[in-house]
Symmetry: C2
Subunit: 348 residues, 2 copies
């Protein structure tokens, strides 16, 4: 589409985050209960000492998922989990979801049964209740809108904005696998499209494929943190990629940060597959996204509390804003980090 | 699409309400805070004496709106208002909304600015805060998902399920105008498509067009009710049409009802336009939908409290289930009511 037309600015020019900033900049919060609006993993609604958390995501066929390789049951599961992840990223507990669907006539009732099987499984595993939604037809394809609602004690809430220089940066698990899972699926899709008789080569990549098709949210981290008596100074879930999500924390907290390349956890299957795809494993970890691990910062004095926490890795440190956001390579170099995460407007 | 294919049941066969029933029947509420799930205007989440209300709607281009005649600013306004209406229909006060968009590359940043102007205007008029959302691209068209969040005192909440035989049925305003507004817009669209030089004949139908393009939710009714010290025994907003929405109340309350044809309020412009379109004005009022008036039932002993309430009309009565759901015509006949409201799956 021509964006030289007067009055027609292509949304790609702005990108998702700048677009949201532009569209919402004049909206001021007026209600006392509106504690926090746009700009974190969830909105925060205050009623007494318990804060409500609300987060919402829209998944669009052809943009966020491809039904050639996404089984509907997994898709239903994932649509719920990615929203719950946003509640956990505030140190909260999700309790309810709403699910809305717009679907074309190519979807049968049986197909929807499968999708809801996955939604139900996610509700069971994460102990959340489906409390509402809307179901309508669509001229083409499937769109899924999920809203997750949760609670958090007001003194345990973790925004993106509380990180201070000297804080330790932690990650709850390994990165890059979901992105490599997607690469495998895309490769097999292309092979299948050029030769429908071919058998897909998926059997040895269970971990990578599951990280992509049926990810889990880190519901255990809030419990570990509570047991340790620890409240992170900031937290976010890795949906766009470590680099991009770290930048969200740095921007919201008005700080810089460094990550030590050697400390970034990468699963062995992901390492090998990255090399097979002639990609740098670190790049897939930094920019891959969809890992749904939690990235958080803690005060230095809380270091002892985290050391023995299961599956938590220390990967870097918060620094002053003027020191920038950098990667310390294993070879001793310092690189400025760039966000190359998912920006769905790039894919148009 | 062939629905004779084994394992392929066309969703049109079921319709929206049966489909939702089928998909969600095995979901049981587990969390103490999940007070009420699917099956009313909003979900109810309990925290102390204030209950939270959550309602969500998905608007799809080509199904719920047509950009040929829907100005984007009005569309943004309407997308918010129809959700707020669901909160008012529980006797609640909306306080927050989230807005998610999926949009194709045909939408410029300026177009989105306009859409958000309407969203902002609705936030101002109804005193709600935009607290979150998600913005993504779409292969085609525009999809808008709005979630509204509100509060209600737990002893003032109005479900659909509390109507009892002998209760009086009331409606907050006139019906049918939004549907006739849509008929005018569709007629002018067809004329325009066959002869783009033609001027649309819209000027004298401001009321009908506004009811369709820029409807208002009845935010005043909860205040009138509070002033009168009155809590309806059941309430719903008219989105699908009086007949269909009355059936929702009857089903949830396990009762029947009758409506007096002569008492159904119809605006004079709507009367005239219905006749011009060779439609029965009563049919447009019963089945038109999108009026966003509130239909509610009150105990007979509360009749005095309602008599002088502005813009509230008494239209019928709740009866025993075995007596059915009927229309008492002006000519003295009794007809069984049929729901012919919007079922978006019929339009595929």
């Amino acid at each position: 589409m021509a964006d030289t037309e007067p009055g027609f600015t292509d949304v790609n020019k702005l990108g998702e985050f700048k677009l949201i900033e532009r569209l919402t900049k004049d909206f001021k919060l007026k209600n006392k209960s509106s504690k926090f609006g746009i700009g974190d993993d969830s909105a925060v609604i205050a009623h007494g000492d318990t804060h409500m958390l609300v987060s919402t995501d829209l998944l669009v066929e052809g943009i966020h998922f491809d039904l050639i390789y996404s089984p509907l049951k997994h898709l239903g599961y994932k649509a719920v989990v990615v929203n719950l992840s946003d509640i956990y990223a505030m140190n909260g507990t999700p309790e309810q979801i709403t699910v809305s669907l717009a679907l074309s006539s190519k979807f049968s009732v049986e197909a929807l049964d499968e999708l809801y099987e996955g939604i139900k499984e996610a509700c069971r595993i994460y102990n959340v209740d489906l409390v509402g939604g809307d179901t309508t037809s669509s001229p083409r394809g499937l769109t899924i809108s999920v809203t997750a609602i949760g609670t958090v004690d007001k003194d345990k809430i973790c925004y993106r904005s509380g990180a201070k220089p000297g804080d330790i940066l932690c990650i709850s698990g390994d990165l890059g696998a979901a992105y490599l899972g997607l690469q495998i699926l895309e490769r097999e899709k292309q092979l299948y499209l050029s030769n429908p008789g071919i058998q897909p080569e998926l059997e040895n990549q269970k971990y990578l494929l599951e990280r992509q098709l049926k990810p889990e949210a880190r519901k255990d981290i809030k419990d570990y943190l509570a047991e340790a008596g620890l409240v992170p100074t900031s937290m976010i879930d890795i949906s766009d990629g470590l680099a991009s999500d770290l930048m969200h924390i740095c921007k919201a907290s008005d700080v810089g940060a460094f990550i030590e390349e050697a400390k970034i956890p990468i699963n062995q299957d992901a390492q090998l597959m990255a090399i097979k795809f002639q990609m740098d494993p670190i790049t897939t970890a930094l920019n891959g996204g969809e890992d749904y691990e939690l990235l958080f910062s803690i005060k230095e004095e809380d270091l002892e509390k985290i050391r023995l926490m299961p599956s938590v890795y220390i990967i870097g440190e918060i620094v002053k804003k003027k020191d920038g956001i950098t990667l310390h390579t294993s070879g001793g170099n310092v690189h400025a980090l760039k966000a190359q995460g998912w920006d769905h407007f790039d894919e148009d």
